[in-house]
Every structure is written in C-alpha cells, then in structure tokens.
Symmetry: C2
C-alpha cells in the first residue's frame, strides 16, 4: 500500500502536484471529510478514469447557513487519512480556513433557478458558499475531472453550471448514490444520529422507493406528498420539503409527466439532523 | 523574427501552451487591443521576467457601462498582430465573446472601498466586468506573472485584491505609465481624438505635472481643484473628477498629508472621449 501524500498549503500542493500536471490526468474528489463508502466510491471512480487522484478535506464555513450545523459537523481526520491510504488515493489536500480564505470571499454567484429552489431556498447562501469553495479548489488543484455524488443532486447541477459560466476546462462526473443496508443514503451526517433516530431514518428510503409503484397505481404527486407528511408526522419528525422537479432545470412541477425526466427530492429533519435524498423517475 | 502563435479558442490555447507550463514561467499581458507602446512595454517587461509570454486581445463587453464607448472602442487586429510579432510575443489569445462567455457571467464581486470610488463610482459595473474577464483569463492562461499598466491605477489595486480574494497563485506586476512627447498618457482611446482634441488633451499632463510645485507653493488640494476646473472650463472640456486618495486604500482624502503616500487621480472628457491619468505624490 503506497502512503498517501499530504498537503496542508497551496504551495505544498503545487510542489507535490506540478510534476504530474502534464503527463497525468488529474482526478479530484472535493470532500468535507468524515469519509464513508460514498466518498470512497468517488475516489475509486477517479482512480479508474484518471492516473492521479487528489482528495480535498475542508469543512467550508461559507456554505453553512446554520452555525450549529457547522459546529456539530463531524471531523475525523485520522480515520479519513487511513481510509484514503487504503483506497490508494495519491494526494490529500487539507487546507486551513485561513489558507482557503486569506481574505473574505465576497463573490455573489447566480445560477438562475438552480440555486433558488429546494436547498437553495431552505439554506440561504449555502450554494453561494459551495460555488466559492469549489471554484477556489478548481483553481488550486486544476483537475482534469472532478467527481461528485448524486445524493447532492442540486449541487451537481450547480457545479456543472459553475464550470460552464466560468469556462473551467474540467469534466464533472456525477456518481450514483451509495446506500446503507436499510437503504439510507450514505452521508457524513448519518454519524450524528442516535440509535433510535438512525432506525427512524430508514423511513426516508422506504417511502422514496415506494413512489414508482404509487405512480403506477395512479397517485398524484400531491396525494403522495400527503401520504409522506402523514407518515413523517406519525413517526414524529419534520419533513422540510418533498418536491417534484424537472430533472434538468429543477423547475418545480405540480404533477408527473412523461414529457421530460423528473426527479423527486426530499429534505427532512430526524431530530436535529437534516438529511436529504432524491429519486430520478 | 519568430512568428507569433495565435489561439482563438481555449482548446487551441491549451494545445499551444500546455507543453510550456512546467518548464517555463508564463508571463501574461491581458489587453483590449489597439496596442500602443504602453502595451509593448508590458510585453517587454514580461519577456524580461518570464520565458514564455502570452498576450490576450479581447474587448470585454461586460466592463463597458456605456454601449457607445464599446461600439467606438478601436479594433486594429492586423496592426496589433504585427506589433506583437515585432515584439517577439510568443502567443496571442484572440477569443470570441461566445468563447469567453458561453453563458452570461452572473458573478458580482466586492472589493470594499476599491471598487466603489473614482471610476468605480463614475462607471457603474466597470470593475465588476474587469474582475469577471481577468479572473476568467487567469483561469484559462494560468500565468506565473501578469502585467498591468499603472495608468489604470485603480484597476491594478483591484486586480491585486482579486488575486488575494480568489487565492490565485499569480504575481501581479504593475508597470509605469508611458507618455507621448507632450506628456499625454498613452491610451488606445487617444486614437479616437481628432487633431484639435488631441492638442487640447496635452493640458491634462501639463496640469498634473504642475501639482508638486503647487503643493510646494502651499496650495491646498481644493485650491488646485479650483485651478484645474477653471483651466478645463476655459478650454471647453469636462472634468469628470479630480480626486486625492490614499495610494494604498484609495480612500478619498480632502488635503495633502505626509502620514502616508497619496495619489491624485483625474478623469475627464475631451469631446466624447474619456481619458484618465494619475500622479503618485
């Protein structure tokens, strides 16, 4: 097993990376750490498609609209490095907040509908912070391809729009959601659930996976929404939103159609922990 | 004389440039064309400090707050290429508007005081457009050093702030103002002046260069401003602004001080043509 190289500053990163920039295709997996199998599947995909893989671990303060959420976000650096070493990741970038924000980043981005609905509406400023840090990391790492998980479906569309709006010569690879045995989408936040909350959380994939058969049975989207709300209420946790959208534009839609691909997106609070998931129809 | 390489697309640029990225230091001179000796002095400085020099020619629509100004801005591509060939520039990047803006750039930048005073106030949106295009060009060219003329003093400070705010690993080199025989600061816009306007324009450097002796003579800044206004009025053209500022922060100041370096900045209209100049005290 090769040891994974570690860079904590941009200068260290360039010292380790510059020699590979011409001869190698560089794959990049930006993360906030607390790595799980979902992250590792991105590392593996990068290793399949590129011959040098960089993973960044940085809990980006500017994308947290909720201070408490930022404070409680899990940080497991030693375990993360162990997993990245086992995954044969070539280089890990672990910058400090001051290294990434020597000056406050005052940029305001605009992605039309994409950043105004769903989590863009529920978490004001979240995607602006995501665009700030991802554009900075793209500038610093200068990858050939970057890998993102489809659990954050809206984020993937925004990153693709960012790359187009800023002329980044980077291919964005969207990778499938990985799930626990009970179907719960893998997320660093799952580690924050207590045992009973963790059990309850399984209701999300159960309900989501039931949607196709409910559609076949002729249920309208509003009927399904009502069904979800009842179930969540009965189990005592809060549905933040359940929405139907055009899978390309994320325009919110009222009911199912065969004219274009649609996606159902869900966000809910299990205790204090906010979880999201989605289902492409 | 080597022939200068020409790239009109980002892909062409990378094809020509990638081979030099590791072994060479890349110097970059972004321009809007209509090249004059001032631009060529930036090319020469780049060739002194770097071993591969890229010049971009792109009249950036997003930095023109005045459509008429954009339409009348001089475009002299053939002459520019001839001059760059004579200057032994290695590579010229001549992108189309669609190549630079495949999607509208919706970013809004904020540089504190720097982009709110002087030309930031007189030309709303101008520096936001400058920040958009320069950050895009920096991402595309990825230079070691970039060279800018001090005639656009406020622009130089904003570019330095941009580089810090966005973590660009690029050194910004500010180069002295080049002047015509009669002292007029070299500018592409000078070509738009008719003969009588061109004669009148010499008043700007005459008045600016008189400031140090006026200060020595004990004149206050307001007294000097009045003196300027009278002279301009007498010659029948409009002073847009004459301002005294902190040379580092561009905070506007009311009178001279020895506590820190100051700069006098001027913008005025000779006929329809807006000219700027400055004098570091």
């Amino acid at each position: 097993m090769r040891s994974v190289k570690i860079a904590r500053t941009i200068i260290e990163l360039n010292t380790l990376l510059n020699q590979y920039r011409i001869s190698s295709t560089i794959g990049f997996v930006p993360t906030m750490g607390a790595l799980h199998q979902g992250h590792l599947s991105l590392i593996n995909e990068s290793k399949m498609q590129c011959n040098f893989t960089v993973c960044s671990i940085f809990v980006n303060p500017t994308q947290f609209n909720d201070k408490k959420d930022l404070e409680r976000y899990p940080r497991t650096e030693d375990e993360d490095l162990k997993l990245l070493k086992e995954a044969n990741c070539d280089l890990v970038f672990l910058p400090s907040v001051l290294e990434m924000y020597p000056e406050p980043d005052k940029r305001v981005f605009d992605f039309g509908t994409l950043d105004k609905v769903l989590d863009g509406e529920a978490r004001p400023g979240h995607f602006n912070g995501v665009a700030q840090i991802v554009s900075k990391l793209f500038d610093i790492v200068k990858p050939t391809k970057a890998f993102f998980g489809l659990k954050d479906y809206q984020q993937v569309l925004i990153i693709k729009a960012l790359v187009k709006q800023l002329n980044f010569n980077i291919e964005i690879i969207a990778c499938p959601i990985l799930r626990e045995k009970d179907g719960l989408a893998m997320s660093s936040r799952n580690a924050l659930l207590n045992v009973s909350e963790r059990k309850l959380a399984a209701l999300i994939p159960q309900l989501m996976s039931s949607i196709p058969s409910l559609i076949t049975a002729g249920y309208s989207f509003n009927r399904i929404l009502l069904h979800f709300e009842t179930k969540f209420l009965a189990n005592g946790y809060n549905l933040d939103y359940l929405k139907l959208a055009n899978a390309q534009t994320l325009q919110i839609e009222n009911d199912f159609t065969d004219n274009h691909q649609q996606i159902v997106l869900i966000a809910c609070f299990v205790g204090k922990i906010r979880l999201i998931d989605n289902l492409l129809l």
